[in-house]
Subunit: 332 residues, 2 copies
């Protein structure tokens, strides 16, 4: 039985992004709201720096929406750290009812789906979605500590140091979250942590095909199809796989991991990744374009890889997931 | 601004539980659906055993509800393992749209809140909630490997080897999920991983007080107030804290961590814990009582501790959260 996309009436009423030095120096550097050239954000550990980025992003998103924390019914938040501690400690001071979510780098889209369903269905009046990643905490946890100086493979991606927050509510103003479609877990048998794009591309394809087949729509019905962080390698794989299925989207596909860094000048190999990648690029690059009407209708698919370092050591391959959010600009 | 509980029209239409040897030998052993006296469930690692328990629980819950996997719109699932791999690998074969959640031992209630809001609000027709924990994988990850034979403190709890699945849908049949209230993260400054009950009790108090104050209701309005896994230590702390706030509930409070083991005969010190604790006890002990009308109205509060081993090494204390679900038996 094919699932139809879920229609919602929720809107993104504000957003904010916080990034580190490398992201600020990248091609989108001028878009981001806040940054710290030391990547430390005044915190004594990289993990606590991540928490601080989440606090900064949520504070600014609330300020822009002219909302106090008491007016937010729930937070949907997650990150890459074990037990999602970036979010738990980061958002503790807000004292807002809290849903921890784990979708790896797909967290932004997963949170937007859950928040928009709850707001649109009447369970919540207003909710915020928050997520983050940090290059140094992610390297330490998933690969090797940065101090080790390990060489990076050509297909490796660079974890974005960044956090973003989105406020979602009913109403007439803001970018419409018109339809959403949660992803299924897909495992194509890839077990190379230096090639996450290849591991996640089949999940992005699965969600896109389910969406196009259920609706009868095509890539040309959208201004852009924006994937989360497949990077250059995974992005190329997705376009090729989609082409083979009869959906050509080379002229309107882009990927947040391909946009956030200058591939050659910044030595990032296959591009950016991490929960903070798609979240900050959506918050500060695509949302303003939707608000200004430069983009009318886009598909945003954040992709995540759901393995752990331990599961890989035990011989498992890398399962991926991709959650889809349709956004409509202008007055929707 | 005080949040009111969220009213839902969703019902739990089936549930199933899977446990290990110690749980089967405990006072509720006769209630659980499936068990493996080796705790291995045919898997080569404890982590993969957890995944297998989730598969078994979801399969049985679907069978009981007479539903195929294609009829389920989404899964809400999580566990204690890093990056929630118990759920990701366990539920991969079902190919059902997947929301990963992280609420530590509060996962069952968090999942039921999200599923009931989405089903009640119209976003989803049917959803399943799945969670698990395993003594051996949890000890290895959070404390010391079992082979180390570390001595346990009197306030320590025993992580339940168990998984449960719940199917949630609209309709007339099944136990009504009448009201839900997500918890806020609370940190009372406890940093002793051998006393999780004390770390989580303030979160349970916070949610209960918010519920009673917002509704004007009292403990005597409910047949039972069931907390997740505060255990004997945390349960006593909660009752004392509630008493001090004017809400006496000694005659109607119980805790899944106090029920699942025989404290003296089974040498479990302060009782059971883990995502599987409240989930299996709800699925196999309380739900049948609600279905038979032996219980008419209960509050179920699963509690979770949101720290990681790394955050504790970095000097942080243990933040807790407690999510509340009101369940109505009979025909609701």
């Amino acid at each position: 039985m094919d699932h139809m996309p879920i229609v919602t009436s929720a809107r993104m009423i504000s957003a904010a992004s916080v990034v580190g030095k490398k992201e600020k120096e990248g091609p989108l550097g001028g878009c981001f709201d806040l940054f710290d050239p030391t990547d430390r954000f005044g915190a004594p550990s990289w993990e606590m720096a991540e928490s601080e980025m989440q606090r900064m992003a949520l504070n600014l998103a609330l300020k822009r929406a002219e909302l106090t924390r008491g007016e937010i019914d729930a937070l949907f938040a997650g990150d890459l750290l074990n037990q999602c501690v970036g979010s738990a400690y980061g958002l503790l001071p807000f004292a807002i009812p809290y849903f921890g979510i784990y979708g790896a780098c797909s967290t932004s889209a997963q949170g937007l789906i859950l928040a928009s369903m709850a707001v649109s269905g009447g369970g919540l009046e207003r909710a915020c979605v928050v997520t983050s990643s940090h290059y140094c905490s992610a390297e330490r946890q998933f690969r090797t500590p940065v101090e080790y100086g390990g060489q990076r493979a050509p297909t490796a991606q660079w974890t974005v140091t960044g956090a973003a927050a989105f406020a979602v509510a009913r109403g007439e103003a803001g970018v419409l979250i018109s339809r959403v479609m949660p992803g299924r877990i897909c495992d194509a048998g890839i077990s190379d942590v230096s090639n996450m794009g290849a591991a996640m591309a089949p999940a992005a394809l699965d969600t896109l095909l389910r969406f196009f087949r259920a609706t009868g729509e095509e890539p040309t019905d959208f201004d852009l199809i924006v994937t989360g962080d497949l990077g250059f390698e995974g992005g190329a794989i997705l376009r090729e796989l989609a082409e083979a299925e009869g959906y050509s989207m080379t002229d309107r596909h882009t990927d947040c991991g391909m946009l956030i860094y200058d591939q050659k000048r910044q030595d990032v190999h296959s591009g950016g990744s991490g929960c903070g990648c798609s979240a900050t690029v959506l918050a500060s690059h695509f949302l303003p374009k939707l608000q200004r009407g430069e983009l009318r209708r886009i598909l945003f698919l954040a992709t995540g890889a759901l393995m752990s370092p331990d599961s890989l050591k035990q011989g498992a391959s890398i399962p991926g997931v991709a959650h889809l959010v349709e956004l409509k600009g202008g007055m929707g």
